[in-house]
C-alpha cells in the first residue's frame, strides 16, 4: 500500500502526517516489531523500517549506536523484510530506509519482489540519487512501489526538478545540512527548501533530520505534509536500556506528544 493513503487521510484531517523511524533488529528482532507497533498505535501514520548497515554515513551517533546493536544482534536483510511484514499488517504504510549496497547485494529485482510480498510500500534511499538508481526505478515502477529520494538545502533547481520527477509516494526534504540526530531548535533551512520543492511537484513533502519534540513538530507541520522523526525515537529505547517496559512506555509517550504536535499547527 502506497504511503499516499496515509497522506490523503492526514490531509483530510487538515494536518501533517507523522512518520516514525526505527532500525529493524533494535533493540532486537522482536523488540523492534513491538516498538514499531506501539508507534503505530500511538499515532505514527507511516513507518520507516531502517535496514541496519555497517557504514551508516548519513547517521549521527544515536542511530549509529542502534544500528551497531542490531548488527551485533545478528540482524539480517531477511529480518528486515520480516519486520516490514509484521508492521505493515497493522495497516500503517511501511517503507524501508536503506543504504544502497544491501539492496544491490540482495538483487534489486529480488528485493523489490520481497518487499512487495511483505506488504512494504517502498524504499527511502538516502545515500544515492536517481542518477545511479536506474535498476531500482525500473523494479519499483513494475510493482508500483514508492520511490522516496532526498532533496537537500544544497540541491540546485535542476537537481531538485530531476529528483522529484523520480519520486513516488512523497519527497523527503532534509531539514539541515548534516547527519541524523536530535537538534534543539527547529530547522531554519527547511522552510525555503519545502517552498522550492512545492514549486516543482504535487507530491507530499516530508521534512526530517533533527526533529525531536512536539513544538518542533508543530512548527514543521505548519508548512510540510509530514514530520519525520528518527533519532528521538531511537533515543527513548537507548535510554531505557534493558528495561523494555520502560522503553515502550517512553516511546508511546513521545509518539503521542509528537502526534499532538502535528495536529497543533
Amino acid at each position: 500500500m502506497s504511503v499516499s493513503v496515509a497522506f490523503e487521510k492526514a490531509r483530510a484531517d487538515d494536518r501533517a502526517a507523522l512518520v516514525g523511524y526505527l532500525p529493524a533488529g533494535f533493540p532486537d528482532a522482536e523488540g523492534s516489531i513491538d516498538a514499531l507497533q506501539v508507534m503505530v498505535e500511538a499515532g505514527c501514520d507511516v513507518i520507516e523500517v531502517g535496514l541496519p548497515y555497517s557504514d551508516p554515513v548519513m547517521d549521527g551517533p544515536t542511530v549509529q549506536a542502534a544500528v551497531q546493536q542490531a548488527l551485533e544482534g545478528g540482524s539480517r536483510t531477511t529480518d528486515v523484510l520480516r519486520t516490514v511484514e509484521a508492521v505493515a499488517a497493522t495497516g500503517a504504510p511501511t517503507v524501508v530506509m536503506t543504504a544502497w549496497n544491501p539492496v544491490e547485494r540482495y538483487g534489486v529485482e529480488r528485493f523489490a519482489a520481497a518487499l512487495d510480498d511483505a506488504g512494504g510500500a517502498g524504499l527511502i534511499t538516502p545515500d544515492i540519487t536517481p542518477d545511479e538508481a536506474g535498476p531500482w526505478l525500473e523494479a519499483a515502477d513494475a510493482r508500483d512501489l514508492d520511490k522516496i529520494f532526498l532533496v537537500a538545502p544544497s540541491s540546485t533547481p535542476e537537481r531538485l526538478a530531476m529528483t522529484v520527477a523520480s519520486c513516488r509516494g512523497f519527497v523527503y526534504a532534509t531539514a539541515v545540512m548534516g547527519v541524523t540526530g536530535a537538534r534543539s531548535s527547529a530547522p531554519t533551512l527547511a522552510g525555503p527548501l519545502v517552498e522550492r520543492t512545492r514549486a516543482a511537484t504535487d507530491l507530499p513533502i516530508g521534512v526530517g533530520l533533527g526533529i525531536s519534540n512536539a513544538d518542533q513538530a508543530a512548527e514543521v507541520a505548519a508548512y510540510a505534509d509530514a514530520v519525520i522523526v528518527g533519532s528521538a525515537f531511537v533515543r527513548t529505547l537507548l535510554d531505557a536500556g534493558t528495561d523494555r517496559r520502560a522503553g515502550l512506555d517512553a516511546l508511546r509517550a513521545l509518539t503521542e506528544d509528537l502526534a499532538r504536535g502535528v495536529r497543533r499547527a
Partner: protein
C-alpha cells in the same frame, strides 16, 4: 604535468565518472552540489596555465619531485631480475601522498574555501594534508581510526605539530573505512566552507579521476627516467594497492604501453584463505562502498567486512574503481602479499640497500621479488611509495627489535 584527467582514452571515465561497470557517484544528494562544484573547478584548473605552474612549482621546490629512479643493484642480485625503485619515499613528508594533497589543497584555495578535512589510515595522507594546510594557511581536521592512531602514533604527533586537529574515530572497525565515514559526516554539515581532501583514488566521481590527475606524475616521470637509464621500457611495473592512488599514478604512465605488464599487490594479511586480509580485488565482490561501484569485501547481505593488514595504509575493504576496471579488463593483475612476506621484504630492502620502506611499499617489493622468479633477467620497476619511519613501532614488535642485547635475529646471510 600532464593535464589529462583520464587514465587514457579507452580507460577514461564517462561524463558521470564510470569506468566500465565501475565508479560513478553513489552519494547523498546533500553532497552532489559540492562534488559538481569540485568537478567544475578542477576541470577549469587543469586547463589554467597559472594553476599548472603553481602546482608544478610546489611539486618541484616544495615536495622535491621528480623523485629519482634508483637502480637497486644489490636487491636485483637477490631477485635475479633488474629492480628499479621509484623513490617516492624521498618526497617531502615521506610518501607519494604529497602530490595529491598539494593538488587538492591548491584547488581548495582557488575555490575560496578556508578549511580542509581528510581521512587517514597510515597517517601519511593526514600528515601530507596537515603539511599543505600549514603551508597554504588552511584549517585542517584529520579523521583517523582509533586503531590506527595507536599503530601510527608518530604520525599523529606530526599532524598535531603541524597544527592539525586529529580526531580518533571509535565507530565500526576503528580503521580507515570508519575514518572515511566520519569525514563524510563532517563534510555533509560543513560543505559550504570545507573541502574534503580525499586521500586515495577511490570515492565518488570526480575523486578517482581528480586524484589520478595529481599523482600521475609518478608514472610519467618513471617512464621517462627508465628510458633514460636503461634505454628501454620495463617489462613490468609494480605497486601496492590500498585505495589505489600510488598504483594508479604509476600505471597511468604505462597503461598505453601494451608490452609493459601492470602488477598491483594487495594486502594479503594472514593469507587470503583466512578471513584476515584486505585483498579486495582478489577476494571481494562487486558492490558499492564510499560512493563508487567497485570490488568490496562484504558478506552475503552486503555488509562491509572488517579488513586486516599489518599496514594501516592498506587496511581498507574497498578499492578505487579504476583498478576494478583494469582488473576486469585484464590490463592489470592484482596479487595478494601476506603480512609476513611484506615484513620480510621490509627487512630485505633495509639490509641490502639501506632503504627502510613503509610497510605499504614493502608489499610491492615483496611482490616484485616473487615476480622476478617468473621474469628472470627482466626489468621490474617498483614504486617505493613511502618511507618506513612511521612503521618502526610495528617493526620493533614484529622483529623483536629495540633491545640491544637481543641478537638471535637472522643475519642477512642466513635469510
Amino acid at each position: 604535468m600532464s593535464t589529462a584527467h583520464e587514465i587514457r582514452p579507452g580507460y577514461g571515465p564517462d561524463e558521470t565518472g564510470h569506468y566500465g561497470d565501475f565508479g560513478g557517484r553513489f552519494m547523498p544528494e546533500a553532497l552532489v552540489a559540492a562534488l559538481d562544484e569540485l568537478d567544475t573547478a578542477w576541470q577549469k584548473a587543469v586547463l589554467d596555465p597559472v594553476f599548472i605552474a603553481d602546482f608544478e612549482r610546489l611539486l618541484r621546490d616544495y615536495a622535491g619531485t621528480p623523485s629519482m629512479l634508483y637502480d637497486a643493484e644489490r636487491l636485483s642480485e637477490r631477485a635475479g631480475a633488474r629492480i628499479l625503485l621509484k623513490r617516492e619515499d624521498l618526497n617531502h613528508t615521506g610518501a607519494h601522498k604529497i602530490r595529491n594533497v598539494l593538488g587538492q589543497a591548491l584547488l581548495t584555495k582557488r575555490m575560496g574555501k578556508k578549511r580542509v578535512i581528510a581521512e587517514t589510515g597510515a597517517g601519511q595522507h593526514g600528515v601530507a594534508s596537515a603539511t599543505a594546510a600549514a603551508y597554504l594557511g588552511l584549517d585542517c581536521t584529520v579523521y583517523m581510526g582509533e586503531v590506527d592512531t595507536e599503530r601510527q602514533a608518530l604520525n599523529v604527533a606530526r599532524m598535531q605539530l603541524l597544527g592539525a586537529e586529529v580526531v580518533p574515530v571509535t565507530s565500526g572497525s576503528r580503521t580507515l573505512k570508519d575514518a572515511i565515514n566520519e569525514a563524510l559526516r563532517d563534510w555533509v554539515a560543513s560543505v559550504d566552507h570545507t573541502a574534503y581532501l580525499f586521500g586515495t583514488a577511490a570515492g565518488p566521481h570526480p575523486f578517482p579521476s581528480l586524484v589520478l590527475s595529481f599523482v600521475r606524475g609518478i608514472g610519467d616521470e618513471a617512464r621517462r627516467q627508465c628510458l633514460e637509464l636503461t634505454g628501454a621500457l620495463p617489462e613490468a611495473v609494480a605497486a601496492c594497492v590500498g585505495g589505489g592512488s600510488n598504483a594508479i599514478g604509476l600505471f597511468a604512465g604505462f597503461v598505453d604501453d601494451p608490452d609493459v605488464a601492470l602488477y598491483g599487490y594487495e594486502p594479503g594479511g594472514d593469507g587470503v584463505d583466512t578471513d584476515r586480509h584486505a585483498a579486495t580485488i582478489w577476494a571481494g565482490d562487486v558492490g558499492v562502498l564510499h560512493g563508487a561501484r567497485t570490488y568490496v569485501l562484504q558478506d552475503e547481505d552486503g555488509q562491509t567486512l572488517e579488513s586486516h593488514s599489518i599496514s594501516a595504509g592498506l587496511d581498507y575493504p574497498g578499492v578505487g574503481p579504476q583498478h576494478a576496471h583494469l582488473a576486469r579488463t585484464g590490463r592489470a593483475s592484482y596479487v595478494p602479499v601476506t603480512d609476513t612476506e611484506a615484513m620480510e621484504a621490509m627487512r630485505l630492502l633495509s639490509r641490502t640497500e639501506g632503504i627502510i620502506p613503509a610497510i605499504e611499499s614493502a608489499h610491492a617489493v615483496a611482490g616484485a621479488m616473487n615476480l622476478a622468479k617468473e621474469r628472470p633477467g627482466q626489468t621490474i620497476l617498483v614504486n617505493l611509495s613511502g618511507r618506513g619511519d612511521k612503521d618502526m613501532a610495528t617493526a620493533l614488535e614484529w622483529f623483536g627489535l629495540g633491545d640491544a642485547e637481543a641478537t638471535d635475529e637472522p643475519t642477512e646471510q642466513e635469510q
